[in-house]
Homo-oligomer: 135 residues x 2
């Protein structure tokens, strides 16, 4: 019996109407202090879409109005804590006022997101989401 499995997480790509990207400032390692996409681990008994909406709400106070699958990110080296597979969604959000939740020291729509070295492989996820929006 193998007892070690990859963990499952979700990440959310949310743009506002001005083209700014919703980012959180990471409060804890890894990538402490860096910008990252809102997201987190999927809990037992919830769908990945429910997990994405929950993490988005908990971390940024933003409500998810619609989710589109961006991709599955499963490189075992993408998270220094261990093998974490992330399901990324492009999320449509209603009018909202982003504010930081418990796992973030800051949550805001950032205009200069293209110049940021995001945590994990989040730059790649954002690029894939932007490509999806252009389809």
């Amino acid at each position: 019996m193998d007892t070690k499995h990859p963990l499952l997480a979700v990440d959310c790509v949310v743009f506002d109407q001005a083209g700014r990207l919703l980012l959180i400032r990471r409060k804890n390692p890894p990538f402490q202090g860096r910008y990252a996409l809102p997201g987190g681990f999927v809990e037992y008994g919830e769908t990945t879409e429910q997990a994405a909406a929950r993490e988005l709400r908990e971390e940024t106070n933003v409500q998810a109005a619609g989710l589109s699958l961006v991709g599955v990110y499963s490189d075992p080296g993408r998270d220094p804590r261990g093998h974490v597979v992330s399901i990324a969604y492009l999320v449509a959000a209603g009018p909202c006022d982003a504010r930081a939740g418990s796992d973030a020291s800051e949550a805001a729509f950032i205009a200069g997101w293209r110049d940021e070295a995001l945590a994990f492989d989040h730059n790649r996820i954002v690029a894939d989401a932007v490509a999806l929006m252009k389809q």
Copy 2:
């Protein structure tokens, strides 16, 4: 600390040039004796694409030549054994001779796949893969 997490699996949708679908006959519960897509659990340290190619080879002797993401299936009730999230791929296979591996009592390209009640939510996964092929 929560210690129970959803498990991660992969499923493969493979058609041959005649439009037949590659199916295995399940040797073990759940859905024992029913047709199912080739697939299985993702191992720690492998990508989901590697897991899909490995399971396909192990269960059917078919080599994956290319993979396209179909979707993520995460309903907690989709597997009676517990919460299993499946990543489904549409797989292009080279010329091959399907034969059953250790977890299947039969592996073959099936012409009448539209009339089969497949295991788990595999009918839905196949429908989504067919829609993807038409894009």
